[in-house]
Symmetry: C2
Subunit: 454 residues, 2 copies
């Protein structure tokens, strides 16, 4: 792709690129619905209070204010600024789909059947500095399952399998879900005497960026860990197995803690099911921490094999306390696919491509300017059988009309002569045959645009 976005961080696709994105979105929707996930959308805006509810956020948020006030006059500086700042009712664009979903569940709890499973495919906005794989506006595709009061752990297993199936259906390279469990990590840290487990997780989260030596420094300088504690935490984070042998490796570290045991059992269940049902797609990776605070058990990040520097293309986990209404708690588990990140990579590296650039299969040529009505009749007949068809607007020379189809990427041109005899030409092969608008159809592979892996 030679083109760059006219506004940095706000990618826009050409029509043939959009076909690739549509294919990705349609595929995800199909898999999610096959697994019984309902579609919902939430509004693009939340109140600032809602977005900040979980305390400090590490996302850059876009605040909203109206350029004109209710009387049509332009807002004063003071008003404009006030609408963003202290006021928790001020509006801002959502930066993910999890926080809005939690609010939606609480607001609509009386109308939902729990465990409630939904998918949500929408744009989100983050005012961060744009870079490769990081846009300011991008599409996420989330699935979550939320319970009322409790949510069986089995859903953690299921949701990982659904995502593995969904990603497998996309025209992308091999991927690997890297899964860890917060209980396991926090229990372990507690077991070795490091009580600021959130702090340890934040340091461990930097492992890939700054390396083990500097993480050890951080643990010692910022969290008061001893050299032994730091090395122990790093040893845990170095464990990575494609099967359930990580359990023995953790036990070999000789730390004993109830929460650790709980986490080990949970992660073991996820990995055991994945070995069977998504072989080669999942790994227990005890370095995975996830920055955000609301995760309480399973945590997941996903890499594209050979494209690791792109960052995680699918992340999420278990959150037991994100949503609540009085005493009523709504624990959930969910994963979020970075659609724009994936599609950008597919396009920039030409990993997949649409078989043609337009939905149209047939252009009905005009014999004379008066034949437009008859041409529309032919087109209507083809469309009634699901064949995408356009009609030429002007009775130019046939050569010109064929060239027009070629330029638009339309594979077939339809001709009707003055005697009402129909013929259709495959402009790729040049083959031209008699055809009946009531029965002719293109070959199955030409009926719709398809997106094929390169």
């Amino acid at each position: 792709m030679a083109r760059t976005a006219s506004l940095s961080g706000f990618p826009e696709w050409l029509p043939e690129e959009r076909l690739v994105e549509l294919h990705v979105l349609d595929t995800l929707r199909r898999v999610f619905e096959l697994h019984g996930f309902s579609s919902i959308e939430t509004r693009a805006v939340e109140t600032v209070g809602q977005l900040l509810r979980k305390g400090e956020i590490d996302k850059e948020v876009y605040g909203l204010s109206r350029l004109q006030d209710d009387d049509g006059a332009t807002a004063t500086n003071a008003e404009s600024a006030a609408s963003h700042k202290g006021d928790p009712h001020a509006l801002a664009l959502h930066f993910d789909l999890t926080v809005p979903f939690a609010r939606y569940v609480v607001e609509n709890a009386g109308y939902l059947a729990f465990p409630f499973r939904r998918y949500q495919i929408q744009k989100v906005w983050r005012g961060e500095r744009p870079q490769e794989g990081r846009a300011r506006e991008f599409t996420q595709a989330d699935i979550d399952i939320v319970g009322d009061g409790e949510l069986p752990f089995r859903y953690d297993v299921e949701i990982a399998l659904v995502i593995a199936e969904a990603l497998s259906a996309l025209p992308i390279p091999d991927f690997l879900l890297r899964i860890n469990n917060r209980k396991l990590a926090e229990g372990f840290y507690n077991g070795i005497g490091l009580t600021d487990t959130a702090g340890v997780l934040r340091s461990i989260d930097k492992l890939e960026k700054i390396g083990p030596a500097r993480v050890a420094e951080l643990l010692k300088s910022e969290l008061g860990a001893t050299e032994e504690q730091a090395q122990s935490a790093l040893k845990l984070a170095s464990i990575r197995t494609q099967d359930t042998t990580f359990v023995a490796q953790v036990r070999d570290l000789g730390v004993s803690n109830g929460l650790l045991e709980e986490g080990l059992t949970e992660l073991e269940q996820v990995i055991a099911a994945a070995v069977q049902r998504a072989p080669g797609k999942v790994v227990a990776d005890l370095s995975i921490a996830r920055g955000l605070d609301y995760y309480t058990g399973t945590v997941v990040e996903t890499v594209l094999v050979g494209h690791e520097q792109l960052g995680s293309i699918c992340s999420g986990g278990r959150y037991d306390a994100l949503a609540s209404k009085g005493n009523r708690k709504f624990p959930g588990v969910g994963l979020s696919i970075g659609v724009t990140r994936l599609v950008s990579r597919i396009l920039s590296q030409d990993l997949a491509r649409a078989t043609r650039s337009v939905p149209t299969a047939v252009l009905v040529a005009l014999n004379s300017d008066d034949s437009w009505g008859a041409a529309q009749d032919v087109a209507a007949e083809l469309r009634s059988r699901g064949i995408s068809t356009e009609v030429a607007a002007k009775a130019e020379k046939f050569g010109k009309q064929i060239k027009f189809a070629d330029r638009r990427g339309i594979p077939f041109v339809w001709f009707t002569d003055d005697d009402g005899k129909h013929q259709v030409k495959d402009i790729r092969s040049g083959e031209q045959v008699d055809a009946d608008p009531a029965t002719w159809a293109p070959a199955a592979e030409d009926l719709h645009v398809r997106v094929l892996k390169a």
Copy 2:
């Protein structure tokens, strides 16, 4: 619908309501693609300069500013305000899809094949006072055809027919496209000596709100029209025919003007084609003005019959000068469907409904907690044949599992006994039959959720 949006003007649907919206969106997409329209999306934000390019706009725009600056500190009042005001590079949310589309065409002209036909289904935002049929965030579905230098008039006819076909495919009451032509109106006003044609159009646009007497007053007081001129303009606006007889009615008014003749011929073509191809769906209505300034020929508004007070559900027209790049002009014609307005009405008046509330057709019940793996095998087999299937998470009593399915709206429950014998129960009828996961399928009408007119 008893529920109200938790944020006024920002509607959100329950899962079963979203199914109705999805059906509307899918139907529109199908019809648009059958007619060869390509999907595109533009970013949600434009620069303020771009949005204001056409001079004063009558839409309330939401400006954006980042809550934190690049260093993570909160922006000062001055910065926050500056980002909205004089600066034409400041960002704001788009208020329609036409202005962003015009920008997209100009930016990507080198990559598009003209005439370029696209559909675009996205949210737009307007900070207006919310009221029935008017939200602050809503979805529009637009189709446009844009030419390079010139665009044959025939596309005006085509686009009206495509929209009539698309609306006919929706689960909505009868609708009526009310079509006029700016050339006709402006030529007429010029012909009777009223030269501020934009001013006359603005007054005529108020006809339905304030009535002919007050419009006549406006024409006289604000535009200096004589009583005769005002009555003449009102007579034109009163013409409304289902066929091409409006031409004779206009000629009877005895005004002669070249632009008027051009407009008459154009509108005649649209109506003549519609009489044949969309009978009863289109009317020549010479009172239609459209507020926005960029229309130059055909103008369209659409009412739902019996729901006229809802306002136009589909509007647009011909614009010859919206987009240009140096000397290169990109004339276009397009129509925009107010999806949220339509869906709100369908839901609030129960005009259509989903056959069930979830995509799921089958719940695979658990015999014992150990049978989860075997149940997943059954589910995978059903899904491989396109049957949406969930697996129970806990081996509760069968009665409880059936109740769970019932509560979620899932019509079938699958049982596998300890000997591996399969049965499936239609929980609506209670009928339970032997079934093979490799071959069983629900009746065609139960395979997918359908949305039916009430």
